[in-house]
Every structure is written in structure tokens, then in C-alpha cells.
Subunit: 236 residues, 2 copies
């Protein structure tokens, strides 16, 4: 049985509903999203296999989730660094960045160079609201992600993928296929093209909302904020 997914319009409507009817603040949702991402990274990149994690953050909510994840990773014992070339003027993102600066987490400017001294990459560039055009300075970043042999964990969507249709025809002869995907709240339709390890995070969604948007809450274990699910709609 294929995993039920949420298209970009439904995902946007759900986010709006969480922040209105359901009374969550964006601070809360972003804290929980970033926490989920950090827990998935902890699972796929054990500390003894390398502590250096480069978190690539886009200008929107996906980037904010990355900033929160970087903070939690710091406290787990990782050595995060952050690539955040298009800083939002949004007050929330500025605060999340300040929280990292207070931990002396380095912000790096040159993504290809930074790749040479990391063990893992978190791709928090574009999320479910991405549609079609990769703007500067991100084309080079996406190209680096396509070419790297390092493990990448993507937040909600592999950046540059179409939310409905999956990998774009990049014309570069390679496809960006992250090792890990963390779907936030519910998987997006692109997961049918994804062949890596797949986690879902969203252990706060009221059951009536899952029912209304017609997706299943996965069975989380213990106190975990993420759960690994079968890739590509196939049972593990």
C-alpha cells in the first residue's frame, strides 16, 4: 500500500490550519520540525562516524527548520556549521541565527569549499512551497549536492525536486538523490521517486487534522519525534 501524501496546496493549507484553528505558533512548529530533523540525523549519522554537519539553509521556513536542527545537533555533540547565504529579515529567523551565533557555530560563505571539511550535509534549502526555479546563489549549491559523495539529509523535499513530480531533468547528467529524507507532518508526492532512508516527523498533529487531510499518522516509538518508514511507498 502506497504511503498517503500531501501535495503542495494541501501542505500549505495544513500549515495555515495548524497556525490558526489549531493554535500553534510558528515558533513552536519550527522548534518541533527542527527537533525532528536533528533526531533523524542522529540516527543516520552516528557521532562516531563523524561529527561535522554542514547545514545548508534556504531563505524560508525550510531554512528555519535547518537552523533549529543545527542548534539541537550542537547539543548532541556534533560540530555543525551553517551555510545561510540569503538571510531572511524575518525576526524569527534572525533569532534562530542568533541562537547559533551564541554557540559559536560557524556560518560559512563558500559551499563547495565547506563540503571538503564536513561528514554530513543537511539540505534545508527548499521545502514544499518550492516551484520550479532555483535562484542564485543556489544553482551551484544544488550542483554540489548532485556531485558530492557525502551523505545528505533533506528536509521535507530534496531541494530542486518538484513537489509533485520529483527530480527535475537537470541536464547535468546526474540526479540529486539524498541518502535521507525527513518528511515533515506528512510525505509529499515526490517520495515515490525517492529511494533512500525515509523518516516522518510530526508527532503533534491532532488526529482529526490527519483525518481531514487524509494522511496517516505513522507509529512513533518511545519518545521519538521521528519514525523511519518504508521508502517509495514500499514496505521495508
Amino acid at each position: 500500500m502506497a504511503l498517503k501524501t500531501l501535495g503542495p496546496k494541501a501542505a500549505a493549507a495544513l500549515d495555515q490550519e495548524l497556525m490558526s484553528t489549531c493554535a500553534f505558533s510558528i515558533d513552536q512548529l519550527m522548534e518541533l520540525a527542527g527537533l525532528s530533523v536533528s533526531q533523524a540525523v542522529y540516527r543516520v549519522q552516528p557521532l562516531h562516524q563523524g561529527r561535522r554537519v554542514l547545514v545548508a539553509c534556504g531563505p524560508g521556513n525550510n531554512g528555519g527548520d535547518g537552523l533549529v536542527a543545527a542548534r539541537h545537533l550542537f547539543f548532541y555533540g556534533y560540530k555543525p556549521s551553517v551555510f545561510y547565504p540569503k538571510r531572511s529579515k524575518n525576526e524569527l529567523y534572525q533569532r534562530l541565527a542568533k541562537q547559533l551565533e551564541d554557540l559559536e557555530v560557524p556560518f560559512v560563505d563558500d559551499f563547495p569549499s565547506a563540503l571538503k571539511s564536513t561528514d554530513h550535509i543537511v539540505d534545508a534549502i527548499f521545502g514544499f512551497s518550492f516551484s520550479g526555479e532555483v535562484r542564485e546563489p543556489f544553482p551551484q549549491v544544488i550542483k554540489s549536492l548532485e556531485e558530492t559523495d557525502l551523505p545528505v539529509t533533506s528536509v521535507d523535499a530534496p531541494s530542486s525536486w518538484d513537489i509533485d513530480n520529483g527530480p527535475p531533468n537537470s541536464g547535468l547528467g546526474s540526479t540529486f538523490m539524498p541518502a535521507t529524507l525527513v518528511s515533515l507532518t506528512a510525505p509529499k508526492p515526490l517520495v515515490k521517486h525517492f529511494t533512500g532512508r525515509h523518516f516522518v516527523g510530526g508527532r503533534f498533529v491532532p488526529p482529526y487534522i490527519a483525518k481531514k487531510y487524509d494522511f496517516e499518522m505513522p507509529e512513533y516509538q518511545g519518545m521519538d519525534q521521528v519514525v523511519e518508514v518504508p521508502p517509495s511507498g514500499q514496505k521495508l
Copy 2:
């Protein structure tokens, strides 16, 4: 070596600094505090020993932490109920209560009756800003907490205790001694009178802040948001 503690004035100043210089929002801090409390309860009250948790919430921040903890406990598989007699008009607390109502978590009015059908109690009535006077309707609640044989987990302070000096002379012939205490950010001086299991939660405080306020960050394990520490300043 005795655990370093934070008196009520220092704790208030630290909270202010976290929300100003350190750029945390109260939504974030409360989410993290409630998450810590939920993780401590998960440790001391395994699901198979009884899932019913009665969360007693006071009118301030301590109560807000309790509301967040109740939500996480619900998702872990507990059956929380909430006693919240003095609802704050503060918008944040109203939202946290709504998040519980959406999960159909029952709000109960009669604390002594509710005690008859629970397995565990979370005391989120008063925190570090409490000083001296237990106002209505809480005297009866404190009396029930003194008399119950059920395990109680107190948030930051056993309610009615003086933050510096510990248990009050209640004149009732008994002292309220919860089974578990979760100190938020850093223990308060009252811990020297506390003989139960002691957890600390605050895995987000920048090291320079811990240094400035002269307390130690305990060594958290894995992805845990709480760590158990020796009670009463004695090594375990």
C-alpha cells in the same frame, strides 16, 4: 560536591536574558521545558505501570510547562487529564490549552476526585517565582499532594516549597515530598531538601550563559532533553 543552584532572583534574571540577549521566544522555551518534563515522566512512569497522568497546572509559566508536557505525554501513549482551575488570559496559555482540547484531553474540575483515577501526577502549579502564599483554590490541592500515595513529578519546584529554604512548616503534620523533581535550566536552592529522583532539563542554554550564572550544564546523553542527577547534592 554540592550541585550549584540558582536562587529565585538569579533564575528570573536568567529567564529574562534568555528571552532578550539570547533571542529565545517564550513559545520556544516553554515547548522545550514541557518536552523535558514529558521525558522525565516517561522515565519514571513507564507506560506499562499505568498510563493515566493528571497534570495540575498553575496560572503562570509553570502551568504552561505542564500544558506542553501533557500534549507530549498524549503522543507517547499516556492518557493525560488536566486540572487547570485558574486559566490565564495570556494568549500563549490559551493556545496551549486549545492544543490539548483538540486532542480531547479532559480538563477536570475536582482535584481530589481526579486523584482517584490516575496513576501519576504532574505538579506544574508553582515554579521559581513562587513566594510564600498559596492562594485559593490551591491550598486544598497542596493538601491532597501531601496526603496522596501516588507518585508526583514536580516541575522546577515542589509546589508550596520556598525556593531558597525548601518545605514550609505546613502545620498539617506532613510534608509534600514528590517522588520526582525536574529542575528547569538549573536546580534551585530547595533541592538540598529534596530526597527523590532528580532530573535537570535545559539542553539549549548557551555555555557562556551557564558560566555567567555560575551553574554547570549536566552531561546529557544521546538526544535526551533531560538527565538524571544525584539527589540532594550527593553523588548517586
